[in-house]
């Protein structure tokens, strides 16, 4: 009965997501599409909440919808007015691809339904529960991320670093904003400390409850984005060496922890269970700093003046 009634909510959400997705994918106006996509992200975050995935809901709200939305809007601003965004494949191609994709979807759906008959993945969840006490944290998702599958997370930080380096190599950042009018400035003025506070809170709480480095980093980055949007004159990025150190710190500390475990026990990232909690916090701390730096720099869309070491040959 209970689950049955909730199904109405589920149905509403499903329909909403479908409508929003189709709208975001095929709206005639590009800006319209981007806004629909941001709303889509919001609904997705709700869906994560509904599916008991608060960690992901947090990340989706902060990164997937929030920051990605800001990025997309910034990209829209870069667009020249004349750009034609409605170009798409000819109809026959569209239909052909549609047919192919439909076939794939049917196949996948069939397979998925087949799976739903008898699922086998509970044992692994049980193993996680049984092993949780050795991981140094009590939030199972954090345990998986930073202990059981810490290597994935290290690589994920590296992916972020690669994207950052890529973005930094593509040219200078967007021109800074003008100072905001008092109204917005006031809003920004009290939002920033709140964001920083919330970020710190999420980082701390991550060990035993949903939250952690990514969500925290995203919030800190959002604070910096806000400051940038407000055109704050006093908002200065650190100099090039420090900025670079900040960007690689998360990855570097993570790697160094890995190396020291490698030297100690011969196994990469085998955290001694007594120290695991502390090491995870250490890693998360630096990871948060790096993630925040990376997300913010990435939002700038190019390297800030303080990124480059002094050039001998000027850039073309």
């Amino acid at each position: 009965m209970k689950a049955g009634a909730l199904l109405y909510l589920d149905l509403i959400m499903v329909i909403l997501m479908l409508v929003l997705a189709i709208g975001a994918l095929h709206a005639r106006s590009l800006r319209h599409a981007v806004i629909l996509f941001i709303v889509f992200g919001l609904v997705v975050a709700l869906a994560w909440a509904r599916l008991r995935a608060p960690d992901i809901a947090l990340a989706e709200a902060a990164i997937g919808s929030g920051l990605a939305g800001a990025l997309l809007l910034a990209a829209l601003r870069d667009r020249r007015p004349g750009d034609d965004a409605t170009r798409r494949a000819p109809v026959w191609q569209s239909v052909a691809v549609g047919g192919l994709v439909t076939a794939l979807v049917v196949l996948l759906a069939w397979a998925f339904l087949e799976v739903q008959g008898g699922r086998a993945n509970e044992p692994l969840a049980n193993i996680v529960q049984a092993t949780l006490h050795e991981s140094g944290v009590s939030n199972p998702v954090t345990a998986v991320l930073l202990n059981f599958r810490a290597y994935d997370t290290l690589l994920e930080l590296t992916v972020l670093l690669a994207a950052l380096l890529g973005v930094m190599s593509l040219g200078p950042q967007r021109s800074p904003m003008r100072a905001a009018e008092p109204m917005a400035a006031g809003l920004i003025g009290w939002l920033i400390p709140l964001l920083i506070l919330a970020g710190g809170y999420l980082l701390w709480v991550g060990a035993h409850a949903p939250g952690g480095a990514f969500q925290a980093g995203a919030l800190l980055a959002a604070a910096a984005v806000l400051a940038h949007l407000g055109g704050r004159r006093e908002f200065q990025l650190p100099g090039h060496t420090r900025l670079r150190l900040l960007a690689v710190a998360g990855c570097a500390v993570f790697t160094l922890v890995g190396v020291s475990t490698l030297l100690g026990s011969g196994v990469l990232l085998q955290l001694p269970s007594d120290w695991a909690g502390g090491l995870i916090l250490l890693i998360e701390l630096f990871a948060t700093a790096s993630i925040a730096t990376a997300l913010f720099l990435v939002y700038l869309g190019g390297h800030p003046p303080s990124w480059n070491s002094r050039e001998v040959h000027p850039d073309a």
């Binding site: 794939l104 196949l107 996948l108 069939w110 397979a111 998925f112 087949e114 799976v115 699922r119 086998a120 993945n121 509970e122 044992p123 692994l124 193993i127 092993t131 202990n147 059981f148 599958r149 810490a150 290597y151 994935d152 690589l155 994920e156 590296t158 992916v159 670093l161 690669a162 994207a163 380096l165 890529g166 930094m168 190599s169 593509l170 040219g171 060496t241 670079r244 150190l245 960007a247 690689v248 990855c251 570097a252 790697t255 890995g258 190396v259 490698l262 026990s265 011969g266 196994v267 990469l268 990232l269 085998q270 955290l271 480059n308 070491s309 050039e311 001998v312 040959h313 850039d315 073309a316």
Partner: protein, 478 residues
């Protein structure tokens, strides 16, 4: 013992971090890191030869809960290929970038790419492979755009989109597999796959995604612009190593994770596409007006050979001939890596010295750049599949299998492909003999020329005459 496995990934990663933090020391850090990770691969050789194929649960958690790294003959060969090519390309790159800003950007990304490749060849976990694939494609994309030219950026953008689409397809398969089998470990998944709908659906989407990433015809359209517009060392890395990653994964998935799932139709389809790649890629290479585009299309064609070989391998009945074909397939992949990286480096030298890479205006280059021309010739020999290259042995086995399996159409396709390859290679070499002496600047430093030459010699002489051990090695260390 097992430290070496992690080190092959960690060392280039550390190097990348250092190079990102201290860009001024990029060249030193870069070369050192590549050298050290090469040494780690060497160490891994020792432990592999001593202990046989092994795996390691990272973090000390059982596979399933944790992530497994694994090493066997195939992965160590791929790692060695990466190490050697990366070393030669790195030496070349240390002279290639004339603007310091470009050099500073190159090294961290280049090292990340190598870390990703090493990680990919060692991964034993399906989701970890997704992350490594993304690391690989993001660093490769960033490197592609490094030249800063409009065409390069456009190519990089397209490359990125395709890469993302491909990895999403792959991830969809992983999600399905996890939902069905409750594990991400390749061996544990492999124990449960069969010809059920889940395995089939997962196989189809994962393969489709990877074929897109490895640019199998007709999904190759993004490759030529990306490979031909990137800076020369990057092109070398992309064409020699990065496309191999997708192929390697398809190979692993087909042979190890889904051995009972693959249908004959699927194999036939890939064989047909591979054949199409051979013909179309070679034909386009013949039409190309620029050397780099020629080399890029040649990669499309060579991937076709690899996939045709893979399809034949999958459809061959178990037995000696099948094992021999497997070795040949690996040898062809290795030869192509060395030959193609050599070709791109040599083209880079020409581009630097002549100021362009238009084939029609290459006359006289041979006289000015003999070592480079020789490298192109040797690399070309390997691409055609003529002796004394490793590709000759590979092609012999490939044709042998095609004939044994009565695949006469493939025999014809491979034959035509070889002739087309000869045509495009000698179209370039013919110009190299031409008389008109152009203003080709003399080489400043021999370091610029010898990496290409060494790579070409590896592809031809070393792999042609010294690769008989690969077969028993693959058999005993699988």
């Amino acid at each position: 013992m097992n430290e070496s496995m992690s080190l092959t990934i960690i060392l280039p990663l550390l190097g990348a971090l250092l190079a990102a933090a201290w860009p001024r020391r990029g060249v030193f850090i870069g070369i050192t890191a590549v050298l050290l990770s090469g040494l780690a691969v060497g160490w891994l050789w020792f432990s592999l030869l001593a202990d046989g194929p092994s795996h390691q649960a990272l973090g000390g958690w059982d596979p399933g809960l944790g992530i497994r790294l694994q090493v066997d003959a195939l992965s160590i060969l791929m790692l060695s290929m990466t190490a050697l090519v990366a070393l030669a390309v790195s030496v070349y790159a240390s002279h290639y970038f004339t603007r310091r800003s470009q050099a500073e950007r190159f090294w961290p990304l280049w090292l990340l790419m190598i870390a990703a490749l090493n990680g990919l060849f060692l991964a034993g976990d399906l989701f970890n492979l997704y992350v490594t694939l993304e690391l690989l494609s993001l660093s490769a994309v960033a490197l592609t755009a490094l030249g800063g030219k409009r065409a390069g950026i456009a190519a990089a953008l397209r490359y990125l989109m395709i890469g993302l689409l491909g990895s999403m397809g792959y991830l969809a398969g992983v999600a399905l597999l996890y939902s069905a089998f409750g594990t991400l470990d390749m061996q544990q998944v492999a124990a449960q796959t069969g010809d059920d709908p889940v395995s089939q659906a997962a196989l189809i989407v994962m393969t489709a995604g990877l074929l897109l990433k490895s640019a199998l015809f007709p999904l190759h359209f993004w490759l030529p612009p990306a490979h031909s517009n990137a800076p020369a060392p990057v092109s070398a890395g992309l064409s020699a190593l990065v496309v191999k990653a997708g192929f390697y994964l398809v190979l692993r998935l087909w042979t190890e994770v889904f051995p009972d799932t693959l249908s004959t139709q699927g194999v036939t389809l890939v064989a047909v596409l591979g054949g199409g790649a051979i013909l179309w890629g070679s034909w386009q290479a013949l039409q190309a007006e620029r050397l780099k585009l020629l080399a890029a299309y040649s990669t499309v064609a060579q991937l076709g050979y690899l996939f045709v070989a893979l399809a034949l391998f999958m459809s061959a009945p178990p037995g000696v001939a099948r094992e021999l074909l497997f070795g040949a397939l690996v040898l062809m992949a290795l030869t192509h890596a060395f030959a193609k990286s050599s070709l791109f480096l040599a083209i880079g030298v020409i581009q630097h010295r002549a100021g362009h890479d238009r084939i029609a205006e290459l006359d006289g280059t041979a006289q000015r750049l003999p070592a480079t021309t020789f490298a192109i010739a040797l690399a070309g020999v390997a691409l055609i599949g003529l002796p004394p290259s490793g590709a000759f042995l590979g092609k012999w086995r490939l044709l042998y299998s095609a004939i044994s399996l009565d695949q006469w159409l493939l025999v014809v396709v491979i034959g035509i492909g070889s002739l087309l390859a000869a045509a495009y290679v000698f179209r370039v070499l013919g110009h190299a003999f031409g008389r008109s002496a152009l203003s080709v600047q003399a080489i400043h430093s021999v370091h610029e020329e010898w990496p290409a030459l060494l790579l070409a010699l590896t592809a031809t002489l070393l792999l042609g005459f010294g690769s008989a051990w690969i077969w028993p090695f693959l058999e005993h260390m699988a």
